[in-house]
Symmetry: C2
Subunit: 489 residues, 2 copies
C-alpha cells in the first residue's frame, strides 16, 4: 500500500469518526431540546404556588382585564402573599404576544421531567431564554415558533420580576412561580444571565427594549466589578482577604463576547474590557504555571489556606474556551498556545480521576483533601465544558492530542451522564460514576450547559467536516444553518 493511500485512508477514518460524533451529537441535541420543550414551560398565567401546600399546578390563575383582578384559584383568598400580584404586561395580555401562554420556566424537573418544585431560579430563566434564542438563530431546524414564544415569555417574566427593587438593577437569585423574590445573592451572576438573555432576545426579535435592558445591566455589572461593589450588599469585613474569584472576569469576558458579536462598534468599545478580563483570568495561573487557582488576591497573588488552594477544573476548562475564543479573535497564536497549555491540558491532566474516570469537581492545589463534601463527585457541566474546550482546541490547531481528549471526555460523558430512557442528562454522579441524584434539573441545572455543549460541538464538527471532507462526502447532508441577522424574524 502506498504512503499516499495510507494517508488517505487515515483521513477517511478520521472523517468517519468525526461524522459519527456529529450525528450522535445532533441527535442528542434534538432529544435534549425536546425534554425542555415538553416539561419546563409554565403553561399557566402566573398562578402562585397553591397555598394548600401542593405544587399548585392544577389550579390556574387568570388576569381579568375587566375586573383588574386575578381570578381562578379557589384557594387564593387564603394565601398570605406579602405583596399584591402585578397585572400582566400589556403586551402579554393585549398585543400580538397574547398568544404566548407560558411565563418563565420550571427547572426543578425529576428524572422523567415531572416538576418537583415550582420555584424559578433567575440564572436558569436567563440561561434558557438565551439557549432557545441561540438555537432559533443558529439552527434551521430549531427556527420554530414554540422556541421563540417561550423565550419571549421567559424574557418578559425576567423583565417584570427579576429586579428586586427597580429601578435598582440588583436581581433576585430565585423567585416564586409568580415572580416574588425568595432569595438574593450578593454576586453578579443573576444579572449576567439576565444580560445574556436580553441581548440574545434582541438578536432574534430586533426589539430594542431587550437590547436597552442588556446594555443598562451590563453597565451596572461592570460598575460593580470595576468601580464600586457596595450595591451587591456584601459587607466589607476586616478579616476577609480582598480576593477575586475567577468566575467574575470569566463571566464578564463571556458577556463581552456575547454583546460584541457582529457589532464592530460595540466590539471596539468593549475591547479594553475584554483585555482586562483576559488579564485577570490569566492571573489565576499560579505556582510557576503549574496550577490554575480559583481565587487569587486582588493583585494576583496566591491566597493562604483552603481559599487560596481551591481548584475547580471545570471552571478552568470553561475559562479556557472563553480565552481561546478571545485569542483567536485577536489572532494571538502565542496566547492561544498558552491557553491550551494552562487552561485545557493542565486542568484536564490534574483533574481527571485516574481511578474511575471523569473530572473531579473540586481539588486542593497541594493535593490535600478539600472541605467540600462533593469534591470527588462528577458533575455534568465540567464535562460539557471540557468537550467544547478540546474540540475548539483541535479545530484551531489540528493537534490530534486534543481530539483524542475530546473523544475520551465525550465517551465518558455520553456513557455516564446521558439518560437513554427519559432524555436529558443526569447532573450528579458519585466518584465511581454511578448516578447520585436522579434529577434532570434543579437550582443550578437547567436548559443550558448540555444543549450549549451539543450545539457548539455540532457546529464545530460540521465545520471540521466541511474543511476535511471531499465535497462529495457531505453533499447528502444539510449544511449548518448560518447565523440569523438581528431582527431577522
Amino acid at each position: 500500500m502506498s504512503r499516499g493511500l495510507r494517508v488517505w485512508q487515515d483521513m477517511e477514518k478520521e472523517q468517519e469518526t468525526l461524522r459519527a460524533w456529529k450525528d450522535r451529537v445532533a441527535r442528542e441535541l434534538d432529544r435534549v431540546v425536546a425534554f425542555w420543550l415538553d416539561h419546563s414551560h409554565d403553561q399557566e398565567q402566573g398562578c402562585a404556588p397553591c397555598p394548600s401546600g401542593g405544587l399548585g399546578l392544577g389550579s390556574s390563575l387568570l388576569w381579568s382585564p375587566r375586573t383588574s383582578l386575578w381570578a381562578g384559584c379557589h384557594l387564593w383568598g387564603a394565601a398570605s402573599a406579602p405583596i399584591p400580584l402585578h397585572p400582566p404586561t400589556p403586551d402579554l395580555a393585549n398585543s400580538a404576544n397574547a398568544s404566548v401562554s407560558h411565563r418563565g420556566f420550571f427547572t426543578c424537573l425529576g428524572r422523567d421531567g415531572q416538576v418537583y418544585d415550582d420555584l424559578k431560579y433567575v440564572w436558569l430563566q436567563g440561561r434558557q431564554v438565551w439557549m432557545y434564542c441561540r438555537l432559533y438563530r443558529q439552527f434551521e431546524r430549531f427556527r420554530r415558533p414554540e422556541l421563540l414564544n417561550a423565550a419571549k415569555a421567559g424574557g418578559e417574566f425576567l423583565l417584570r420580576y427579576a429586579q428586586v427593587a427597580p429601578p435598582a438593577k440588583k436581581c433576585a437569585f430565585v423567585l416564586t412561580r409568580d415572580g416574588r423574590p425568595v432569595k438574593v445573592q450578593r454576586t453578579i451572576f443573576s444579572e449576567c444571565f439576565y444580560t445574556m438573555a436580553m441581548n440574545e432576545l434582541w438578536r432574534v426579535t430586533g426589539d430594542a427594549r431587550y437590547q436597552n435592558e442588556a446594555m443598562e445591566m451590563m453597565d451596572q455589572i461592570v460598575s460593580w466589578v470595576r468601580e464600586d461593589p457596595s450595591g451587591l450588599g456584601r459587607p466589607q469585613l476586616p478579616g476577609a482577604p480582598a480576593s477575586e474569584s475567577m468566575a467574575v472576569p470569566m463571566m464578564l469576558l463571556n458577556l463581552v463576547e456575547q454583546l460584541g458579536e457582529a457589532d464592530e462598534e460595540l466590539a471596539g468599545i468593549s475591547a479594553e474590557l475584554g483585555d482586562w478580563c483576559a488579564q485577570r483570568i490569566l492571573q489565576h495561573v499560579q505556582r510557576g504555571g503549574q496550577a490554575v487557582l480559583e481565587n487569587v488576591s486582588e493583585d494576583g497573588e496566591e491566597l493562604s489556606g483552603c481559599l487560596g488552594r481551591h481548584q475547580n477544573p471545570g471552571h478552568a476548562l470553561e475559562a479556557g474556551w472563553f480565552l481561546l475564543r478571545y485569542a483567536i479573535q485577536r489572532g494571538d497564536a502565542k496566547l492561544r498556545a498558552h491557553v491550551i497549555d494552562k487552561f485545557l491540558l493542565l486542568p484536564f491532566h490534574s483533574g481527571w480521576d485516574p481511578e474511575h474516570g471523569g473530572l473531579f469537581y473540586f481539588q486542593d492545589a497541594d493535593g490535600l483533601c478539600p472541605t467540600q463534601l462533593e469534591w470527588a463527585m462528577k458533575l455534568w457541566w465540567p464535562h460539557s465544558e471540557a468537550m467544547i474546550a478540546f474540540l475548539m482546541g483541535y479545530s484551531e490547531t489540528g493537534d490530534p492530542a486534543l481530539l483524542r481528549i475530546f473523544y475520551q471526555v465525550a465517551e465518558y460523558t455520553f456513557h455516564r451522564f446521558r439518560d437513554p430512557e427519559y432524555g436529558e442528562w443526569f447532573g450528579y454522579l458519585n466518584r465511581d460514576g454511578k448516578v447520585a441524584l436522579t434529577i434532570k434539573g434543579g437550582p443550578f441545572k437547567g436548559c443550558f450547559h448540555v444543549p450549549r455543549c451539543l450545539a457548539m460541538c455540532e457546529e464545530m464538527l460540521n465545520n471540521l467536516l466541511s474543511r476535511l471532507a471531499p465535497a462529495s462526502a457531505l453533499s447528502t447532508r444539510s449544511p449548518p444553518a448560518g447565523p440569523a441577522r438581528p431582527g431577522a424574524e
Copy 2:
C-alpha cells in the same frame, strides 16, 4: 435449667455487653480528647496568617507590654491588615492567666491532625470550650489544667473577637487566626455556641464575667427569635415564606437546659421558654404523625416545594434527645412516649439506608430525590446523635428494642467512622460507607459531637450498669465523677 437461672444468665449477658461497650466508649473518649489536645491548640499568641501565603504557623507574633506593639513576625510589615490588631486582654498578659499560652483552636485538621487552614470557626471555638469544660467538670480523669487553660484561652478569644461590632451582639461565623471577622452568618448559631461556652466556663471557673456574657447573649438570641429578627440582617423578601427551621427552637431548648442546670431560680424563669421551644419543635411532626419535617410555616403547617419536604434524620434524632430530657425533667410519660415514637423510631426507620447501612444526611418526605448533592452521604454527627438518643431512650424506658438500635448504630459508627490509625473519627462517608473526606476537622466538624456522644454514652452506660449489676460486679471499677459545683476549682 430453671427459669430463674435463665433470667439471671440473660441479665448477666446483657451486663457483659453493656460493660464491653462502656469500656470501648471510655477508651475511645480518651483517644478522641487526646487528638484535640495534641493538634488543635494554637500555641502562638495571636499571630496573623503569614502574608507570605503559607499557614504562618512557623512565625510567632508576641505582644510587647513595653512597646505596646506586636512583634516577631518578620513579614508583618507587608501585611495589609485592614484594622489594627488589638492588644491582648490584660488578664491574659499580666494576671494569673498569663500562663495560658494558646488562644483559640485550630479545627481544620487533616487525617493525622496536621493544620491545613488556620481560620477559626466561631461555632467550633464555642463548642470546644464547652466540651473541655464539660469534661473537666464531669470526669475525674479530665480534671486537668491543660483542658481548663485551653478552655479559658478559647473563652477569652471569643470574648475579645467573636462579636463583629460590639456592643452589638452579632457574632462572626469565622475569624482569622488573630481574630478578624471573615464571614458573618445571618442566623443565631454562632451566638448559641458562644452562650454555651460562656455558661460552662462559668460553671468550672466561677468567674461571673462569663455568666454575665452568657445571660446577655441569651437575652439577645431570644429577642431575635421571638421578637425582632432584624438584627440578624436577613432581608425580608416578599416571596420567602415565613418559615421556621427546626434547628432554631431545638438549639434554644438546648440552651434553656444548659443555663438552667442546677439553677432552680433560672430554670423556673426559663420554664416558659422551654415549653415554647418544645411546642415549636413538636410542630415539625407533620402528615398525621408520619414525618418530621425540617421546615414548617410559622403557624406549623407544611410548606410547599422542596423546602417543605426537606428532612434531616440526624436533626430529628438530636431534637429527640433534647425533647426526651425535657419530658423526663417534667415527668411527662406521655410526651416521652410520643418523642420516642416520632423523633427516635420514625427518623431512624425512614432514615436508615437499607442497602448500605448508616443514616442518610437528607431526605425528601415524598421519597423524591433531594437537590442537595450530599443527601446520601453518611455524616458522623447524625450517628453520634442517634447513639445518644437511643441509649437515653433505653435508659429511661428499659425497652430492649431501643437498646438493639443503639447497638446497631454504635457498631456501624465505630466500624465506619473511627480511625484506628490516627485517632478521632472521619466525618464524611459516601453512601456505601467508604471515607469520602479524610479530614478530621473542618468548617463544621470540631471537638464536639464525637466527644459529647462518647461522654454522654459513658455516663449513661455507667448509670445503667450501676442500676443493673449486683453490687460486687462494679466494685472493681471507679464510679463516675459527680458534677462539680460552679466555682469549684
